[in-house]
Amino acid sequence: MSDLLEMKNLKIGATVYPPDEAPHDIEIVKGVSFALEKGKVLGLIGESGAGKSTIGLASMGYGRGGVEITGGEVWINGRDVLKGGMKGLRALRGAEVTYVAQSAAAAFNPARKLMEQVTESTLQHGRCSRPEAEARAVELFAKLGLPNPETFGNRYPHQVSGGQLQRAMTAMALCPQPDLVVFDEPTTALDVTTQIDVLAAIKDAIRDTGVAALYITHDLAVVAQVSDHIMVLRHGEKVEYGTAEQIITAPREDYTRALVSVRQIDHPEKAPAEPVLTASNITARYAGTAFDVLKDVSVALSPGQTLAVVGESGSGKSTLARVITGLLPPSEGAIDFAGRTLSPALAGRSREDLRELQMIYQMADVAMNPRQTVGTIIGRPLEFYFGMTGKKKRDRVQELLDQIEMGEGFIDRYPAELSGGQKQRVCIARALAADPKLIICDEVTSALDPLVADGILKLLLDLQKKQNVAYLFITHDLATVRAIADSIAVMYQGKVVRYGPKSEVLAPPFDDYTDLLLSSVPEMKLGWLEDVLAHRKMESAGH
């Protein structure tokens, strides 16, 4: 057999323990087959719950937290790993097949130095002597672009950054010179400008060592950069399998087509008007710290339009939302809203101020009280601001549910009975119930699967058209920004580095940071990564 890895009709199940119900078995992976040649990269892509990580771990004969392989075969180098017993698995894991986890920060043992951990499997499997293993680790550190590769291994995990840890984990996986590496969402937790470097480092390392890889991610644009083949999964079943090029340029299945064309919403920019919200010269810091999280930030937002505030973690974009809502009074600056100046602190604001300025959160899960029904959650603002009760309130709640395209039968349900997208819709309805002039949307689509997120964005745009409500849209995702913004503020380290109408902000000439940010967003085309890196190299040579 020439294939390195072959899965035949793989079935994986788990036992679930729902409340007030007898425990029962569910099937996570429902008979998936595929093969991977030596030195090739297969991308596994799908939404949460598609079973992609589970399949990746199954290639090492491992089931995470009560998950069990219930049927099928997993062949590696001509052996069925499921029949080798514990001893066979141990010989396989960390030697022939290695693993790179999503959160390297959690996957490294905090009590031991990086070098010990990176060389551990190499030494334990007796692949070479300690000095040889350490030399190889240093070489890998250098190849992966880690600073001071000679001494990097002497540090403890908490002493290096997240992006560096992710590279160190890749080094750990490559050190024993395995035949196959399983990359489980290795860049998902990273900022987009860090992601591109780690992605490039991983890609180089794969190419130079000639190792085969399973690359698992939910981001088709990312997987297109590193894979030879792509397998699209949904609900534990294979949807489509093909070369990366075929999947990206000529998808056969509707589901794949939808994934490829995600975020391609056509949204013409509106002309600026007299602003409904003006934040002027805002400077803010958290109590007990000596560091300004926001430095002299000024933005304005026209009625019925969307201002996207975009930036990476630590840029201060969410803090700006907290300042505008009054949760964090600024140390300097003023906020004008609907023709009046808002009190800096929440306690000083009138009920009318609060009503006209609503907020939607990233995690719809924790934004709704799990002990309240949808009817109570949406009905409370009606009761609180407009004094509605009884049938009138219930009718209005139903009307709002219709507006968010959920219709009948949801009013008496609890949040736990809704899907992720439905939960976010209910949160939107709760904000709408107050009949606001402005809604602050804090990363409202980041926790959702791409297609669900698309639905939410379209709904928000549709509601904006009908209700003339303005959105302050906070996000790290530039594709989302392109899809919905009228104007954009780019934030970096607490400052607004670029601000204006969408057409201007997204058109050259760029400042350095915006250029870096924009060029780092993976695009749905093959060879994008190489193009960007080549372009950057040229520019830095030109300087």
């Binding site: 090492m60 491992y62 995470r64 698995l89 141990r90 010989a91 396989l92 894991r93 960390g94 030697a95 290695t98 693993y99 986890a101 959160s103 959690a106 996957a107 490294f108 043992n109 905090p110 009590a111 031991r112 551990e120 499997s121 334990q124 499997h125 403890y156 908490h158 002493q159």
Partner: protein, 319 residues
């Protein structure tokens, strides 16, 4: 100064501050509350003159602050005052009893700690299988009974019915040889061990399980390491702090258990001394014993914190 030294200094001074505040609390608790020491000693039928005389002799007419300062300076110099009922020097009577109590607690700890850690590991190793279930059933039973009843159960079955050990520690002499002394305290030690063991084991089990569920243990397993190496190199270094914490907290719990067990087995320790004098309403003795018990308790808790600070890699190797 390195952050770890600062943190340790902070923790230790906090312990001392706590001890100071506790001394105030104990003093205030016995002085301000409506009960009257003089009345308690002389009983309801005492004449007003006798009461007034006793109050004066005891210094009860001085302002509370003066009395606290007198008492506290005395304590700092090793003078715990005089017992009202016997007129004896408290520090003197306490000396030998404190040693006896330490002797008892020491042996209970020596047996309970390794046993608890071992059984905790066993419960984790055979999680949800019969050894784990048996251990948790026995644990549940033993924390569902007060210490004194466990004491009498052992006394009845092991001491009286089976005659394996002396039923009481009444014959305990501090000057006897070690084996005689150990035989005398066999049952009290068994009771204390049982009581402390249950809590310690449960908490050890939880602490290790918590570590075993970390992502880095999964990483280690996916490296194809042996179970032994996963536990020894990856779980153990991260379990030291929580386990030591558990042990210390439970040794503090021993402080309470010892009081009751001493009464049950008529053991001449500090606990029995305290309970005796609470019934006699001998306030200076109660204050002294209360302060010592609290100091031991605070000291052990402080030690637990200090050890977990020292074991934290983030603090040991700052950025």
């Amino acid at each position: 100064m390195s952050p770890i030294v600062t943190l340790l200094a902070q923790r230790i001074s906090l312990g001392l501050l706590l001890l100071f505040l506790v001394s105030i609390l104990i003093f205030v608790g016995t002085i301000i509350l409506p009960g009257d020491v003089a009345q308690s000693i002389l009983g309801q039928s005492a004449t007003p003159e006798a009461l007034a005389n006793l109050r004066r002799d005891l210094g009860l007419n001085d302002p509370p602050l003066t009395r606290y300062i007198d008492w506290a300076t005395g304590v700092l110099h090793g003078d715990l005052g005089t017992a009202l009922t016997s007129g004896q020097d408290i520090a003197e009577s306490l000396g030998s009893r404190f040693r006896n109590t330490l002797f008892l607690a020491f042996w209970a700890a020596i047996i309970a700690v390794p046993l608890a850690v071992f059984l905790g590991l066993l419960a984790v190793r055979y999680r949800d299988r019969w050894p784990d279930k048996l251990i948790s059933a026995v644990t549940l039973a033993s924390i569902s009974l007060p210490e004194f009843l466990i004491g009498y159960l052992l006394m009845f079955f092991l001491g009286v019915k089976l005659r394996l050990f002396p039923s009481t520690a009444i014959g305990y002499r501090a000057d006897a040889d070690v084996f005689t002394r150990l035989e005398a305290i066999a049952l009290p030690v068994a009771v204390l061990t049982l009581v402390v063991l249950a809590h310690m084991m449960r908490m050890t089990r939880a602490a290790i399980l918590n570590v075993m569920q970390s992502a880095y243990i999964e990483t280690a397993e996916l490296k194809g390491l042996t179970t032994f190496r996963v536990i020894w190199k990856h779980a153990f270094p991260n379990s030291i702090a929580p386990i030591v914490n558990v042990v210390m907290l439970n040794l503090a719990y021993l402080v309470v258990g010892v009081v009751v067990v001493e009464v049950v087995f008529v053991y001449p320790g500090m606990g029995q001394y305290l309970v005796d004098h609470v019934s006699k309403r001998d306030v200076p003795v109660v204050q002294a014993c209360g302060l010592i018990f609290a100091a031991v308790y605070i000291g052990l808790n402080m030690l637990a914190d200090v050890i977990s600070i020292l074991a934290n890699p983030r603090l040991r190797h700052p950025k």
